[in-house]
Symmetry: C2
Amino acid sequence: EIVARLEAFFAPKWFSGHAVLVTAGPTYEPLDPVRVLTNLSSGKMGYALAQAFAQAGAAVTLVSGPVSLPTPLGVTRVDVTTAEQMRAAVLERVPGHRIFASVAAVADYRPARVSPQKIKKGAERLTLELVRNPDILAEVAALPEPPWCIGFAAESENLDEYAERKRREKGLQLVVGNLVQEAMGRDENTVVLYDENGRIPLPTADKVQVAWGIVRHVAQRLGLIDTAVERGDL
Amino acid sequence: EIVARLEAFFAPKWFSGHAVLVTAGPTYEPLDPVRVLTNLSSGKMGYALAQAFAQAGAAVTLVSGPVSLPTPLGVTRVDVTTAEQMRAAVLERVPGHRIFASVAAVADYRPARVSPQKIKKGAERLTLELVRNPDILAEVAALPEPPWCIGFAAESENLDEYAERKRREKGLQLVVGNLVQEAMGRDENTVVLYDENGRIPLPTADKVQVAWGIVRHVAQRLGLIDTAVERGDL
């Protein structure tokens, strides 16, 4: 924690006076009290991004699915379990935030019925009916006064095509794309940034450094870096 | 770690010369490279039991699903992801083990088809076909020369009935039952032991103490406690 405090002290305060809302981790979509459908996510990338924004001076709120990670220093954390809980927590808090970074691996579908008691196993085969979950990022980006929206695209193939399509269809300012094979559960990540100016690959690095690369890019895009130099914050 | 070494040094060595195989954690049953069906399990109870058996002198092998816990001191750990991988790891290693403790929350069902690429979301509703996973504990208990088998029953209701039925139907020497509401993700647990002599509730305690309660009960049932006294190990 002493190291974290020192890092935060010496970090450039590009985002002083700005509020940033970040989602991280998976969501758990219950079938019954013990079984869930989920997307694999350690939460590391979202937590690293929340920490980097906080160290860069932002007031950061982190809406987090179930993960086993400590809350980054200076970050306000709100714990949720399901996609619907995450949606409610985000929509309640997003007004007043300059930036929304949707890093959570929200489950796209949830079981249509949730059993209040543990389902006893029996049949050899079982059919599970799933319904679509809300698309939290698309909803936020479509608000009358949306924040600057950052989406994450974790794909197993066709990364450029899917990431660009996600950016255009949801009207996002930035998409951070990666191949799941190169990121999941690992401390390192290889990402490509997609924005209106094109495609910017970042070097492979640990998730903390990747987070700083993203924060720097956002600060440049929002014109906060020159301002900070003028204020003497660098 | 110094504390763990001291605890291990002073623990009674009831299980010296005995091999114990423990499973712990959840299994992940993939739909595609990012989505899984799983049972909620922190792995804490299984890890605590593996540690207690090791401290009590046993040679412990721990077959573990994906959890974020350190390997207990002196325990040999084998990592697996799916129920089928866990079955293979257990059946390969179980010969020569005196005791098999099945603590893992193995997913009862897995998706019938696994997509090699991430499934793109589309339809409002989706039907998922599931097939039964192997019952690892039942298979081990039905071996020609089975180890002494300990099962765990995590139920949301009717605990006595379900736990007793599990013990009789699978032919287990011991079932450790708990209510999921009182155990899941927590450090404490309230369990009841079910064996041929009936029902023995253990006091609510942290999972490490509960593990020691189970290990003591097993040592008594196997007649190892008096033997140990005679050997001067106490």
